[in-house]
């Protein structure tokens, strides 16, 4: 696309935003349009209101003459685009809802006030970004391709607005006390007793929340790695043909809201739980609340994260070239020596990766500590209570969020440093025939002794979820069959049409709607970003990649806190809308789409792009007709991932939901808090079944798509059609 056509479209878009949609965000709807609350900017200006926005149409007008004369003047367009964006935001920050925020503006505008930006501003800003991009392209940036320029500038703007800026907001919130900047308050918050106390070493008091978090994360990391390793060794090396069962196990946490296992653990081990009852009746072991605290949370996290470690380690075990082990055994090493001297060292990078993954997952986990933590607080829950608890203290929440962010970034830095140094290339281009050496006998028995009971335990935990919904009160061992939980949650009535009476319908519909809207946005933005990062060379590419991947390392709780702090006041006021939920999901799940896209693009030879270019295909045509069709599996996978994650996430969105826009997971957590375990379980089982259907359905689609792409490549290698012509 040429710079001129982009500039014209952008100007039209900005003009539309100026003239038609309401400039400000609406409280009560479009009824008063084109006047009153829903007035577009043009009407406001004509009526003498918001006169400080006059520069906006004037700047836009300045770009028009040259565009009408078929010229795209780079500098002018850049100045116009950037000028409009800067002016809209500066005036937005300077003049807020309560009146002038910046005292420097007071002499000029008096006590003017304005609400948050609305759809008119959104179109206008989009147009301004388009003008800016067209200007850059006209100056020869991005190889003069305005389409690429717009994608880069636009996605950078979105990433800055919804990933980077909220993080900065946390930083500033931690440093602000009573409305002024107070570095000493920030220092005090970051070194607070509640975070770093070592009281548990010397007394019966609890330790600081940082130590709690670290201890839990370390235990979860180590134990989930060991459990995962046992499964991986058995499935890859023991000839037991358990692949199917193990894979079923691995898919479960993907489709389960993270805290659901906690519910099951309460049913089993709570004060009135089934196991507790049995032990008490049979052996007289006193009932206790041991499950609420570190042991319970640890158990729940192990159930949730071991499958992830297993998937990662199975890959690592299978990547070890059998010829290396065969080489060792031809040199006279016995089975166990081979394992100790060759297999184990080669596995170490995988083990480190699995540990760090478990560690980071545990740091970010919010649902399980919330449900099972009891008095054992971790950073994620403490942050939540600092915002939602009785003592609302945003500064404290921000400081705790910074501590949590520091821990996760530290873990990722460690992982990068470790993996950067120790990556053994065991996968070479050459075919490596050879049979993997079987596990040493003792080790196989040990693995089995760990893995099989754990698998049985996992099965029971999930069985409880499915069973618990159909009995009166599984929490008190009242096992009579009933539909009443489903009726409470999902009752439907025919009263002059279908009426969704059940308590869960609202949140379920919102959840599905939000997930269904955010999934295509996530996949689309992710794939486009992947294409930019993998296929286009432009200055700032590394920065864009960093921004795109950044949210991967930010725990959900931190995202939630940062969003309510960043988007609670004009000019960008989104809290209480379903839009903020969608935005939150899009940017949280984006990194996975980007990664998948980059991996898929690595499989598509660059000469295909180049062939299209030499035949006259511009960036748009190449993308639409060559690249995207070939990336279909990656696109579908990104869709599935973001849909499922939007359905199961709780940590970030628990801060962002509102009475009008509640989500299934948050609703379930609320039921648990209220003690309605059975209802929570019933709802969870429905969620799991929906997700299972989605994942299996998509698996089928992706499977077919992959066959469609792989078969020709395979056929080319193995069965060349003889020359006939």
């Amino acid at each position: 696309m040429g710079a001129l056509s982009l500039a014209r479209i952008a100007l039209a878009c900005a003009a539309f935003g100026l003239l038609i949609p309401p400039w400000y965000g609406l409280e009560s709807g479009f009824a008063s349009w084109p006047g009153g609350e829903a007035a577009p900017l043009a009407v406001l200006l004509a009526g003498g209101a918001a006169w400080w926005l006059w520069p906006v149409p004037l700047i836009l007008l300045a770009s028009a003459p040259s565009l009408l004369a078929h010229r795209a003047e780079g500098r002018l367009l850049i100045a116009c685009g950037a000028g409009v964006i800067a002016w809209v935001f500066l005036q937005g920050w300077a003049i807020g809802l309560p009146g002038t925020v910046w005292s420097i503006a007071a002499p000029f505008v008096g006590d003017a006030s304005q609400p948050a930006l609305g759809w008119g501003a959104t179109f206008l800003l989009t147009g301004a970004v388009g003008l800016l991009s067209a200007g850059l392209a006209a100056q020869g940036r991005f190889n003069g391709d305005a389409f690429v320029s717009f994608l880069v500038v636009g996605s950078a703007a979105l990433l800055i607005a919804f990933v980077f800026a909220p993080l900065l907001t946390i930083l500033s919130a931690a440093a602000v006390e009573d409305g002024r900047i107070a570095p000493e308050a920030m220092l005090a918050r970051l070194t607070a007793h509640e975070a770093w106390s070592l009281a548990c070493v010397t007394s019966s008091l609890g330790c600081g929340v940082v130590w709690n978090t670290l201890a839990l994360a370390t235990l979860t990391g180590v134990l989930s790695t060991l459990l995962g390793l046992a499964f991986a060794l058995l499935s890859a090396r023991a000839n037991l043909h358990l692949g199917g069962a193990f894979r079923a196990l691995a898919i479960l946490p993907l489709i389960t809201p993270p805290f659901v296992v906690s519910l099951s653990l309460i049913v089993l081990f709570g004060r009135t739980g089934m196991v507790t009852e049995a032990l008490s009746a049979l052996f007289g072991i006193p009932r206790s609340r041991w499950i609420y605290g570190l042991p319970g949370v640890l158990l729940a996290q192990l159930l949730a994260f071991t499958p992830i470690a297993y998937l990662l380690l199975e890959g690592a075990v299978r990547q070890i070239a059998p010829s290396l082990e065969e080489a060792a055994s031809t040199m006279g090493a016995r089975r166990f020596t081979v394992f100790r001297t060759v297999t184990w060292p080669l596995l170490r990078p995988g083990l480190a990766a699995a540990f760090l993954l478990g560690f980071v997952e545990s740091l970010s986990d919010f649902g399980n500590p919330l449900v099972l933590g009891g008095d054992f607080d971790v950073l994620a829950t403490r942050i939540f209570f600092a915002i939602a608890g009785a003592r609302h203290d945003p500064g404290r929440a921000a400081a705790l969020a910074l501590l949590l962010l520091g821990l996760t970034f530290g873990a990722f830095a460690l992982q990068t440093a470790w993996l950067g140094k120790r990556r053994y290339v065991t996968v070479t281009g050459k075919g490596d025939a050879g049979v993997p050496s079987p596990l040493p006998r003792g080790l196989a028995i040990a693995c089995g002794a760990v893995a099989f009971p754990w698998m049985a335990f996992t099965a029971i935990v999930y069985a409880i979820i499915m069973l618990g919904a159909f009995v009166h009160d599984i929490g008190r061992s009242d096992m009579t069959f009933t539909w009443r939980h489903y009726i409470t949650a999902f009752e439907v009535e025919w009263f002059q049409g279908l009426v969704f009476r059940g308590a869960a319908w609202d949140s379920l519909f919102t959840t599905i709607e939000v997930a269904a809207i955010s999934a295509p946005l996530t996949a689309g933005l992710g794939i486009l970003l992947a294409w930019l990062l993998a296929r286009q060379a432009f200055p700032g590419r590394r920065t864009l990649e960093f921004l795109a991947m950044l949210s991967f390392a930010i725990p959900g709780t931190v995202v939630g806190v940062s969003y309510i702090m960043a988007f609670n006041v004009p000019p960008l006021e989104l809290t209480g809308t379903s839009l903020i939920l969608i935005i939150c999901f899009v940017f949280r799940n984006l990194p996975v789409g980007v990664r998948g896209g980059i991996a898929a693009l690595a499989q598509i030879d660059r000469s295909l792009d180049e062939a299209s270019a030499t035949m006259g295909g511009g960036a748009v045509a190449t993308l639409r007709r060559v690249i995207l069709p070939l990336m279909r599996p990656a696109i579908i996978a990104a869709l599935a991932y973001s849909f499922v994650h939007a359905m199961t996430a709780v940590s970030a969105v628990i801060f962002l939901v509102s009475a009008r826009h509640n989500l299934a997971t948050v609703y379930i957590v609320g039921r648990v808090e209220a003690g309605e375990i059975a209802l929570a379980i019933a709802y969870s089982s429905v969620l799991i079944l929906i997700m299972l259907a989605v994942v299996l359905g998509i698996d089928k689609l992706v499977g077919r798509a992959q066959i469609g792409r792989r078969a020709p490549a395979g056929a080319m290698q193995t069965a060349p059609v003889p020359v006939t012509a």
Partner: protein, 346 residues
């Protein structure tokens, strides 16, 4: 005189500190098949990509048929390229592949497909329209790639090592097909290869490149018989490069001193004095006595020919003799008669 098909004026392409193409200038005539030849890393592929617009020059000016295209992207130039991997779109049928360029340039679907069909037919690919590229043999894929390029009626057609994915027996036929097609349609073709035989066989003009610069440019005969330096001499078929002294050289014959012996050989005019000489292995005749004396260090029988390595005072000489010539055993004392000698510049 018409504009050259392609003109490079001091074109440089730098990748960081590396100058893959370094201040290269040349004119390539229209309607000719020009080969860019050189070892890997010599800049020939970068030169081709500069012509295609897949790379833009860091410095200098590129013209195609008189039009400055230096800043134009590939999509805006009227070139077409046949890739080494063919780069056929795996998700499109043969027909869709060939019609692709027409349709992205705005042709209606029906018109594009009709034209693509005609092009496929003219290349003997009738009946393959509905197949996917993966269902074709290597040679057929190559022809589809050519059809896809030709259907756009490009000003210049580019080939990037088009034979490297074909087996040895198919190569000769495909390269002759390309040459016939180029002659029949009067196309301007630029062809990249690292195989000197391939270059000699098909080209009107060969550009030998080395380290991002042009080592020599000329017709195949010129390059073979009158290479500019030792590199070109050695690259265009094997050559013995030896030091010698020109005693007299005029009118096609020369008297030379080589390895202590005085010999006579066919050679172009050259000033008297020390010189670096190239001798093709087949331009040496082994005799019992006479010429440059030496000893057979190694002898091998190859069927049509015999190959010898002969140790002389001028250094080791590699000699190819027809099998019909008298054979010499290893260790035998022989004389090397130099039939034809090429003086090298520098």
């Amino acid at each position: 005189m018409p504009d050259p098909a392609i003109r490079f004026e001091r074109v440089t392409k730098a990748f960081g500190p590396v100058r893959a193409v370094d201040a290269v200038s040349f004119d390539l005539p229209q309607g000719a098949l020009v080969t860019l030849l050189g070892p890997s890393g010599c800049g020939k592929t970068t030169t081709l990509r500069l012509i295609a617009g897949l790379e833009l020059p860091s410095e200098g000016r590129i013209e195609i048929e008189g039009r400055d295209v230096s800043r134009l992207a590939a999509a805006e130039r009227r070139i077409a390229m046949v890739f080494q991997s063919y780069a056929l779109f795996p998700h499109m049928t043969v027909l869709e592949n060939v019609a692709y360029g027409l349709s992205v340039n705005g042709a209606r679907r029906a018109a594009a497909e009709a034209e693509a069909r005609a092009m496929l037919a003219s290349l003997g690919l009738e009946g393959f329209e509905a197949r996917l590229p993966a269902e074709l043999s290597g040679g057929q894929q190559q022809r589809v790639a050519v059809a896809r390029a030709l259907v756009l009626r490009p000003q210049v057609l580019l080939f990037d090592e088009p034979l490297s994915n074909l087996d040895a027996r198919l190569r000769r036929r495909v390269r002759e097909d390309i040459r016939d097609l180029q002659r029949k349609l009067g196309l301007s073709v630029v062809y990249v290869t690292h195989d000197q035989q391939e270059a000699l066989a098909v080209s009107d003009l060969v550009v030998v490149m080395r380290d991002g610069r042009i080592a020599q440019m000329g017709t195949p005969t010129e390059l073979y018989e009158d290479p500019a330096d030792a590199f070109v001499a050695d690259f265009m078929g094997e050559a013995n490069v030896i030091a010698g002294e020109v005693l007299a050289a005029d009118g096609g014959r020369a008297r030379l001193r080589v390895g202590g012996a005085e010999v006579e050989a066919a050679m172009r005019a050259h000033p008297v004095g020390p010189a670096t000489l190239a001798v093709r292995p087949e331009a040496v005749t082994l005799v019992d006595a006479g010429g440059v004396p030496g000893r057979v260090a190694r002898a091998a029988f190859l069927g049509q020919t015999r190959e010898y390595e002969v140790e002389t005072d001028a250094g080791m000489l590699f000699v190819i003799a027809p099998a019909s010539a008298p054979a010499f055993a290893e260790g035998a004392a022989v004389g090397c008669r130099l039939e034809r000698v090429i003086p090298l510049r520098g």
